[in-house]
Amino acid sequence: MYRFLRFPILLVGLFLAVSSFAANNPQPALTTEDALGPQVVQPIEFPHNRHAGLRNPADPTNSDPLKGGMEINCQYCHTYARRSAVAGIPPLQKCIGCHQSIESVRNKPRIVELFKYWDAKKAVPWKKVHDLPDFVRFNHERHIKRFVEQQDRPVQEACGYCHGDVKEMTVARRQKPLSMGWCATCHEKDHPVVAEGGTPIAGQAYWYSFQKPVAQDKSAVVKAKGPNDCWQCHK
């Protein structure tokens, strides 16, 4: 009886759909022209280079802040990355823990600002630099376990796969697209799943033994692809 309603309802649906698309355009650019994330202004311009940068060999006492870093391990501050799916932000307590004993920089404007937050017992309102859609569940812990703990890669290298060369930055800026296609470029590659010499790495080798064929190079290092099940990230 109401069969004639079908087409009008379809049209209304299409109209709503198209108009919602139009209303959402233009969208903010996710990636800037140079393929980086947007420049983010932070409440305190945190110098990653000073903390994680390489030491200046000519300056063994590390006295000149402009010329060298402190080579602090990423995980010293970003301590949650190896413990949880989300990396979190270091608590303010962590900054103060060191800086309350570093008198030499105590009167620098950024540190003064930092202590203002501490004295007021207020969290610093950092802006998010790396964000993923809510339907993606990237697991930091898993990646650190694999690359840092099991394969003993340098921390900065492992973090750098996604976060870029942070030791060269002041305020962090997104370096990679962090799109699914980009993730897949890595997960599709053959990676060593045993340590050099063929020693299986914990449960990794077991998991990869299900993946055939397993590539093997001259040094007898077994290689396989990263996990590629949808549910690994889309839970």
Binding site: G88, Q93, A123, V124
Partner: protein, 732 residues
């Protein structure tokens, strides 16, 4: 009923196409917020606080008084999910839907956030200092008997503190009011067993005969009873327990019963005496009493066939021990005490007392035992208010403007109180009438102790502790407010306690030995207590006094039907909404009623036969009129109700409280007559008589069940056959 040619197949086609179109247009819309969203870190973090990893704290559910212990998952400082604490003997790790919705009480957008002082019809935000000063000012020069404090059930240290405060004010007017409480059953139990709530052992019973006790849904301690019920169903020695439910309106428990018997409203006691008669086990004055209750008479009065009475009697004789319960349906009449007494008598005749009905244990601190009360207390207050006796009225954890029967005219009488202070979570109907509204912390932000009325194995004191920081800066815990108020009177005595936490800790540590912490140092004891969330005590077991006696038991003769109001109104107490204090939690509105599957609205249950007689179909809006008032609601045809009764669920029909409560459904309390139980003076909730009239309007009933009343649209999805066509003796 909507009858359109737009069938399911067409609907799916259209849905598919429009869905696809929306999905396409949605491409490119992501939730990525680089550089815009703020990520707030901790200022200081404990070692166990890791973003993305939950930590669990034990506390106590405050959604009802059963006292289930909860275990809340907290992540990034926010409580996300509540489950039961496995260490509690009451709920053993389980939690009902009402308890699960506790997070929605905490995060509710309609919570009161600031102290509000009446200015005309508006509430003006004031500071706490000003609020306390105002209370002190209003109390000065006021006699003790001119002050009244109305509260819901309170227990634990809060009760002790409240008692001390009222004492300091020189008032004895503490009215404890729970709208839905087994007040009459308690009184009848005291007579029959010497205690107001014995311990029921469903797990030991082989037959449970329940006269309207909805122990799986909303009666006393449903989570605990559900677990005992599971054991009862598994059975002793492999023999599965049999549940027989006798009531005029099917409850959740009735729907689970092996045999469900509809009795004429109010004749539960007659049936109980009839069963005693049929058993033939009674002696002495009991035998004398039940002599007149032969099957023909009982069957005529109750509407239960003689065959059924024989079957029940045979089953009760065959299987022992059994358990007979008197629930809200039996007690809700003017002769409710007599009904309950007759039912308790049946227990005694069957020899169940001491077997499935045991002496309860109680906490060895009587000042912490829960205060109980029902509508009799409210009536007393209402009379006092009507006489203009009270200059200052406090209200805590009760919403009488919503739950008082319409015949009380409570709202009008309330306006005669001089200065009304409401301690409130929401601006509910009662808080809206107050002059000063003080916002309370949610149960997940507050400190406290709770002593459940119904204890199980051993006694326990439940600990309530904050699972997270206050959501709103200006709410306060009830304990903190009381402490501040009592300091106005007894500053010296209470100056050592900075806040309620300090009071609570101090009080617990003072009794460390009695609480099982003898020999440990204070911090260890306190931390263990908070970690466990429960203090288990040996408790003191009382003794049941089982004196079989029929003295004073007289059931009224069957009343003639009222011409003008021929139907009984049965207020339905649902497992989710109870008395309606949590209606503003949308999960509870959204979860379908277990029997009718209706959501977000009230309904009038009418028996299909009665409906045919009156020319009513499902979805008709009818006007339900009593002597007191009338409400309009949609009809749901329900075979689980006696044809001489209709039922409207309570809990909905708020005209305040919040966005999820206001304007949904109707409030049957409004049309309840002021008929009281003769012995206890409690409101006889089932005594209201009504008539129903069609208004001519008709709506589509919103329910999860198929819109055509669970019809299978001609397809045999689940084949079925009616029970009268089955010979059960051949089936098993």
């Amino acid at each position: 009923m909507i009858d359109s040619g737009f069938d399911r197949r067409d609907f799916l086609k259209v849905l598919g196409w429009s869905g696809a179109a929306v999905a396409l247009s949605g491409c490119g819309n992501t939730s990525i917020e680089d550089g815009k969203e703020t990520v707030v870190s901790y200022v200081e973090a404990n070692d166990y606080m890791i973003p993305g990893i939950g930590v669990y704290f034990n506390s106590t559910c405050a959604q009802c008084d059963a006292g289930c212990s909860i275990n809340g998952r907290v992540r990034e400082g926010r409580v996300l999910k509540l489950e039961g604490n496995p260490d509690s003997a009451i709920n053993k790790g389980k939690l009902c839907a009402l308890g699960q919705a506790g997070v929605q009480h905490h995060y509710n957008p309609d919570r009161v956030r600031e102290p509000l002082l009446r200015n005309g019809s508006k509430g003006e935000t004031i500071t706490w200092e000003k609020a306390y000063a105002l209370i002190a000012e209003k109390l000065s020069g006021v006699q003790g008997e001119e002050i009244a404090f109305l509260s819901g059930g309170v227990s634990g240290h809060l009760k002790a503190l409240l008692g001390n405060y009222l004492e300091s004010l020189g008032t004895k007017n503490h009215f404890v009011y729970e709208a839905v409480a087994p007040g009459v059953t308690r009184a009848a139990n005291v007579k029959a067993y010497g205690v107001d709530m014995p311990r029921y052992r469903f797990d030991k019973a082989q037959v449970v005969l329940s006269f309207g006790a909805d122990f799986l849904g909303s009666w006393v301690s449903p989570v605990h009873f559900s677990q005992q019920y599971a054991q009862f169903r598994k059975g002793v020695n492999g023999q599965r327990g049999v549940l027989i439910q006798v009531e005029s309106k099917m409850t959740l428990t009735g729907a689970n019963a092996d045999r469900w018997l509809a009795v004429k409203p109010g004749t539960e006691g007659v049936l109980a005496l009839g069963i005693i008669n049929a058993l033939g086990m009674a002696t002495g004055d009991v035998a004398e009493l039940v002599k007149g209750y032969d099957k023909a008479r009982v069957s005529h009065e109750t509407g239960v066939s003689p065959g059924q009475i024989d079957k029940i009697a045979a089953l009760l004789k065959l299987r022992s021990p059994s358990l007979v319960l008197a629930g809200s349906a039996a007690e809700g009449y003017a002769h409710g005490s007599q009904n309950a007494a007759a039912i308790n008598l049946l227990n005694q005749v069957l020899g169940n007392v001491g077997k499935t009905i045991e002496a309860p244990v109680s906490v060895p601190f009587p000042q912490m035992a829960p205060s109980k009360g029902n509508t009799a207390a409210l009536k007393l207050l209402n009379d006092g208010l009507a006489a203009g006796k009270y200059k200052v009225l406090f209200n805590f954890a009760a919403n009488p403007v919503f739950t008082a029967p319409g015949a009380f005219k409570f709202k009008d009488h309330l306006s005669k109180a001089g200065f009304k202070v409401a301690f409130a979570h929401y601006l509910d109907e009662t808080a809206l009438q107050a002059d000063l509204v003080l916002p309370l912390d949610s149960a997940l932000e507050d400190w406290g102790t709770q002593v459940p009325e119904y204890m199980t194995e051993g006694a326990q004191i439940n600990i309530q502790q904050p699972l997270m920081e206050r959501l709103h800066a200006n709410t306060r815990g009830m304990g903190d407010i009381l402490l501040n108020l009592i300091k106005q009177k007894k500053a010296d005595e209470y100056k050592g306690f900075e806040d309620y936490y300090a009071y609570l800790r101090g009080a617990m540590l003072q009794n460390k030995g009695a609480l099982g912490g003898g020999g440990t140092d204070d911090d260890t004891f306190w931390n263990t207590t908070l970690t466990q969330g429960i203090v288990k005590l040996a408790g003191t077991a009382g003794a049941l006094s089982a004196h079989v006696g029929a003295a004073g038991l007289t059931l009224p003769a069957h009343a003639a039907a009222d011409e003008q109001y021929p139907l009984h109104l049965i207020p339905g107490v649902t497992a989710n909404l109870r008395d309606g204090r949590h209606t503003n939690q949308p999960w509870l509105q959204e979860s379908p009623d277990p029997l009718t599957t209706i959501v977000w609205d009230s309904w009038v249950e009418v028996h299909p036969k009665k409906a045919t007689e009156l020319g009513i179909v499902e979805g008709d809006i009818v006007e339900v009129t009593s002597k007191t008032g009338s409400v309009k609601a949609q009809v749901y045809l329900f075979p689980g109700i006696h044809p001489e009764a209709i039922s409207i669920p309570v809990g909905r029909g708020h005209d305040a409280m919040g966005r999820y409560a206001r304007g949904y459904g109707v409030n049957p309390f409004q049309i309840m007559d002021a008929v009281f139980e003769r012995e206890t003076g409690e409101l006889a909730m089932h005594e209201t008589r009504v008539n129903i009239k069609k208004t001519g309007q008709r709506v589509l009933v919103v329910k999860d069940e198929g819109s055509a009343g669970a019809l299978q649209m001609g397809r045999k999805i689940a084949a079925r056959v009616s029970t009268d066509q089955v010979d059960l003796s051949k089936e098993v």
